[in-house]
């Protein structure tokens, strides 16, 4: 059978379950394709072929015993900030270039328990700080739709891999848009679950009050299937909420009659690419044709503070989380000094890249004596305002719709030297993490041959409504069926 790597999870599952194809065959085919294009797109920091074939054999054994759940035997790629026992987990950083975790992240345990097959660790911006993968300490991933463009970030390797059919699905993490923005740039589905829905145990910490793990997938059904496995309470991450996990696939009904959809006007920002705005407006009209009632004039008045609040809160938390990289316990260590302080300072100086240092500096400043009230505390109070905007909106609307990013994918190098311009590419996704609500990015058209992402935002633990809305739109549109031709 040709082109096995192009399958979705649910298509793979049908073939595996009915013994039309084995996991070893599917895994071999996907690995072969991944290896054939990785020189051009550069999605993986490490391809784990040997490990994958072992896992595929276990999966085939499980299937022979009648244990074939939807992810069993299906190959995926993991963002390289999730700990994989015995497999290096670099976080895109020189600091962790040789770090071999002694344990698995919670999500990896969950995937292992259903015999999923990891085929590689995906490239990312260093410590998940960035919007393009250009901050990876190793290399930049290319956008499969146009190789001279970025795939978005920080989960750019994961998104590019899914878009290029170099895996069946992938996991990413999202602190301010790091699943959704690359999903938008690469034309795939990316879901950031509600804060507390998925355990971060074993996820390298960036900003602990914002980080979430979620799926990048070829369609909405696949995103729901992954959510079924990775969601739920974990006592090792005490921010996970002890709520039952629904069967997310039961939300996949193409029926949004009467759904109350709001379009927050603050998200159609100045500086937005006009063609992106037009694509989103056309997509919202399509939702209306599908039976949703649209309010085009919703206001989330504190949106304009989102960027500033985020770039105080996230770096502040990062500056504390990254203090652990002191060259003592694991990771890069500067050893040519007899002074403890010099060793520690040089370890960070040589182990971290420019953006990580910039954020450590920013966060340290915002938390320092004399500035704490003006920056950090103020940002936390603004966080209250932004959260209340969403609470208020969800009294009236089931779903809010925005563009995922103000532009389509930009050129590699275009924003690399201008941190503020780079930060602006996440302006539509950051407030969602600040409020902790869930959001999904799905393909909503093309501009100049590059995908446009549309973001649906829901209330806390409202993933089912998001999936239903996304599914209804997806079933009515051709975008997710379009694939890049890799030159």
């Amino acid at each position: 059978m040709n082109d096995l790597h192009r399958l979705t999870i649910h298509e793979s599952h049908e073939l595996l379950k009915n013994k039309k194809v084995s996991s070893v065959e599917l895994t071999r085919a996907t690995l072969k394709y991944l290896e054939s294009i990785d020189g051009k797109i550069r999605v993986c920091i490490r391809i784990t072929a040997e490990h994958a074939l072992e896992r595929a054999k276990s999966a085939d054994k499980a299937i022979a015993e009648g244990k074939c759940s939807p992810l069993t035997g299906v190959p995926l790629i993991i963002k390289d900030n999730m700990c994989t026992r015995g497999v290096t987990t670099t976080c895109g950083s020189k600091m962790l270039e040789n770090f071999v975790p002694p344990y698995n992240a919670h999500v990896i345990e969950k995937l292992t328990s259903v015999n999923a097959v990891m085929i590689g660790k995906a490239n990312m911006d260093e410590f998940a700080m960035g919007s393009s993968t250009e901050n990876s300490a190793f290399f930049t991933t290319h956008n499969p739709w146009k190789l001279d463009c970025v795939p978005g970030g920080s989960s750019g390797g994961s998104a590019a891999a899914v878009a290029a059919d170099a895996c069946i699905y992938a996991l990413g993490s999202d602190t301010g848009g790091s699943i959704r923005q690359p999903a938008g740039f690469c034309g795939v589905v990316g879901l950031k679950p509600t804060y507390g829905r998925v355990s971060r145990f074993g996820l390298v910490a960036f900003a602990s009050s914002l980080d979430q793990i979620g799926p990048l997938a070829k369609d909405v059904t696949d995103a729901a299937l992954v959510m079924n496995v990775i969601s739920g309470h974990d006592k090792r991450d005490s921010t996970t909420v002890p709520l039952d996990v629904p069967d997310y696939t039961s939300a996949l009904k193409p029926d949004i009659k009467g759904l109350r959809v709001g379009v927050p006007r603050e998200y159609l920002v100045e500086g937005m690419q006009p063609a992106v705005r037009q694509a989103i407006e056309a997509a919202v009209k399509q939702l209306e044709e599908l039976g949703a009632s649209i309010d085009w004039n919703v206001s989330l008045p504190n949106t304009r503070y989102g960027l500033a609040a985020y770039y105080i809160l996230a770096p502040s938390e990062a500056s504390a989380n990254l203090a652990r990289y002191d060259g003592v316990k694991y990771g890069y260590s500067y050893r040519d000094s007899t002074s403890m302080w010099e060793s520690m300072e040089k370890t960070k100086q040589y182990g971290f890249g420019a953006e990580v240092k910039r954020r450590i500096m920013l966060g340290t400043y915002a938390l320092s004596a004399g500035y704490y009230d003006a920056y950090y505390l103020k940002a936390q109070k603004v966080r209250t305002l932004i959260k209340r905007d969403f609470d208020r909106a969800f009294e009236t609307y089931d779903v809010l719709v925005t563009p995922t990013s103000p532009t389509v994918a930009f050129k590699i190098g275009e924003k690399a030297d201008d941190p503020v311009q780079m930060y602006l590419s996440d302006v539509c996704t950051l407030p969602i993490n600040i409020a902790g609500v869930p959001a999904i990015s799905i393909p909503a058209g093309f501009v100049d041959g590059l995908p446009v992402g549309m973001q649906f935002i829901g209330k806390h633990f409202g993933e089912e409504t998001l999936l239903r809305t996304a599914y209804a739109y997806e079933q009515a549109t051709p975008w997710h069926k379009q694939k890049p031709t890799i030159a």
């Binding site: 503070y305 240092k357 920013l362 103020k378 603004v382 966080r383 959260k387």
Partner: protein, 95 residues
């Protein structure tokens, strides 16, 4: 808000982040520019508002204080840059 070289070096020291002269100059400009973009927050009326530290309502999660097996020492120390016996080895802290 324009930062001075002295302030940049002070922040780096607080973070125990080594910093070169060229980085001082680069971060002074970039951080000053970023901080200017934060001025917008002064327009937000937050009078009397409580700060939000995280977005869900869970608080104070407790568990019984019970001893459980931890990872084997050798596995944990396998990533250590240097070790002596069952310990991480570091430079002298007191000189």
């Amino acid at each position: 808000m324009k930062l001075t070289d002295k302030e940049v070096r002070h922040i780096a020291l607080l973070a125990r982040l080594g910093i070169s002269d060229s980085e001082v100059e680069k971060f002074r400009e970039q951080l000053s520019n970023i901080l200017e973009n934060f001025d917008i927050l002064s327009q937000a009326d937050t009078e009397g508002l409580p700060p939000t530290a995280q977005s869900i309502t869970l608080e104070n999660i407790y568990r019984p204080d019970e001893t459980k097996p931890s990872l084997p020492v050798d596995e944990v120390l396998a990533n250590a840059p240097d070790r002596e016996g069952n310990s991480f080895k570091v430079n002298a802290v007191l000189e």
